[in-house]
């Protein structure tokens, strides 16, 4: 592993993104629009507060999952991945290079979505807005790691996009966004216990009701990053220098 190769890879991925104005517009503009839409659909500040907070964590997760799974798939199908693996670069350089750029993108995205929600949509939380951004970035890193891993199972961009409903929607249903996890059927709750998004929502709800940074919040963040690390290791295992 080499710091300079990792950073040059991050720079190269950033360079590709910078030229893709449309993707950047979607990443930055869609979450605030959806938040605004949600605010007026509910038309009640209490209701909005309750749902807006978890949504601020869900957007970065979903969007980064999609972006990285397609970006990595392109790297595989264009032959550039095989080429990179023939150079002195290590697998971790590739994954971390993507990680750095997409995490930065995610931080910007979360900051914009939070700014709009707090300043224009009247979002109110007991905890600090910065805590929300931190959890959102952790979610983005999680989505990215999962996307890097899942891209190994798709052969076309068509398939990669289909993984979104398959991998993301069940988590969305079970994460406690629609019904508290404690009131679900026991077997459903057990499933939700092993899904990372559940911890993201719990972390954000924690920020919603506690003014201070709590132990539960730290614990949930650690679980989220643990999941992300596990998916990154799995993703690294799918990068093969030798193929049949």
């Amino acid at each position: 592993m080499s710091a300079s190769i990792t950073l040059n890879t991050a720079k190269r991925v950033a360079n590709q993104l910078r030229r893709d104005r449309r993707t950047l517009a979607i990443v930055f503009i869609i979450p605030p629009i959806l938040m605004t839409l949600m605010r007026y659909v509910f038309n009640s500040e209490q209701q909005f507060d309750k749902l807006a907070l978890p949504m601020l964590g869900v957007f970065p997760f979903v969007i980064m999952f999609l972006l990285t799974s397609v970006a990595m798939l392109r790297e595989r199908t264009s032959g550039t991945l095989e080429r990179l693996l023939c150079t002195p670069m290590s697998k971790l350089d590739i994954l971390l290079g993507y990680g750095i750029t997409f995490a930065t993108l995610a931080a910007l995205q979360a900051a914009i979505a939070c700014a709009v929600s707090y300043w224009f949509l009247g979002l109110d939380t007991a905890g600090a807005a910065s805590s929300v951004v931190i959890v959102a970035v952790a979610n983005a890193i999680l989505g990215m790691a999962l996307g890097l891993f899942v891209s190994a199972f798709a052969q076309t961009e068509f398939q990669a996009v289909q993984f979104m409903p398959a991998v993301v929607l069940p988590q969305l249903l079970l994460c406690g966004l629609f019904t508290p996890r404690s009131s679900m059927a026991p077997w459903l709750e057990k499933i939700s216990n092993v899904l990372p998004l559940s911890y993201a929502v719990e972390a954000l709800n924690e920020v919603g009701v506690h003014a201070d940074w709590t132990r539960t919040l730290s614990r949930n963040l650690i679980v989220l990053l643990g999941f992300a690390l596990a998916f990154l290791v799995l993703a690294a295992a799918t990068l093969r220098r030798r193929t049949p």
């Binding site: 190769i5 030229r19 550039t80 023939c86 002195p88 220098r241 193929t243």
Partner: protein, 239 residues
């Protein structure tokens, strides 16, 4: 034309199977260093599989491939081998310069080396264009620049001239010759027999085996024809 010196690539009883089919069946060969070796044969005969084996991207079933004195795929070899795949494996959404500079950075090299590689493939005037806006021939030259930027000891080129016009093809062969003159071992595949004349040595491949391993002059002499395409056909018929 140079003569063979030491071996850059050696294979011993090499067998490669893909998807249940035996692509290469018990291949023994040695490819000399510092010369241009042409790997010729119809498409589907196993040229790409053989090349992927040399660069270490292909799982081999049995036998050995030794490259520059080490087993193919060794980590130490990664800085010594340049590999240009058949399709231009470069980032279409980056400029030629960005692509070559990125690949240069993987070897700890800087802009100066990148610019020289771009000049070497004759793309200086197109360096700041996006690869997606280039023609097919320009794309393959951009891909070549990414492979030669680290001045590898061994350059593996999979059909680099396919689909190029005659002028460009001649220019590229001149570049391969210049690389060989400066000490690079070049292994280049083609299914166009008239390109064989540019090589110092020819490996004629058919269904995963070599039916000839000699200089173009020897091939001509043995088959009694000046036309290498005709010579190849006669070699097949003689089997």
């Amino acid at each position: 034309m140079k003569t063979a010196t030491s071996a850059a690539i050696e294979t011993h009883d090499l067998v490669i199977t893909r998807g249940g089919r035996t692509i290469i069946d018990g291949l023994n060969t040695h490819i000399a260093s510092g010369i241009i070796t042409g790997l010729l044969g119809p498409s589907g005969c196993g040229k790409t599989t053989f090349m992927r084996g040399i660069v270490g991207a292909q799982i081999i079933t049995s036998g050995t491939i030794t490259v520059l004195g080490q087993p193919a795929g060794s980590a130490a070899l990664r800085k010594d081998i340049g590999y240009v795949t058949q399709e231009a494996s470069v980032y279409a959404d980056l400029t030629v310069r960005d692509n070559v500079r990125y690949f240069a950075s993987l070897y700890g090299l800087k802009a100066r080396e990148a610019n020289r590689a771009i000049e070497d493939v004759g793309l200086t005037s197109h360096a700041d264009l996006l690869v997606s806006n280039l023609s097919g021939g320009q794309r393959s030259r951009a891909s070549l620049a990414c492979a030669i930027v680290a001045t590898p000891q061994l350059l593996i080129l999979d059909e680099p001239t396919v689909g190029l016009d005659p002028v460009l093809r001649r220019e590229l062969w001149q570049r391969f010759r210049a690389l060989a003159e400066s000490g690079t071992t070049v292994l280049v595949s083609s299914h166009v027999m008239d390109e064989a004349a540019h090589c110092d040595r020819l490996l004629l491949m058919r269904e995963g085996a070599f039916i000839a391993d000699e200089t173009p002059a020897d091939v001509r002499a043995r088959t009694g024809t000046q036309d290498l395409e005709e010579a190849f056909l006669r070699l097949i018929e003689a089997q």
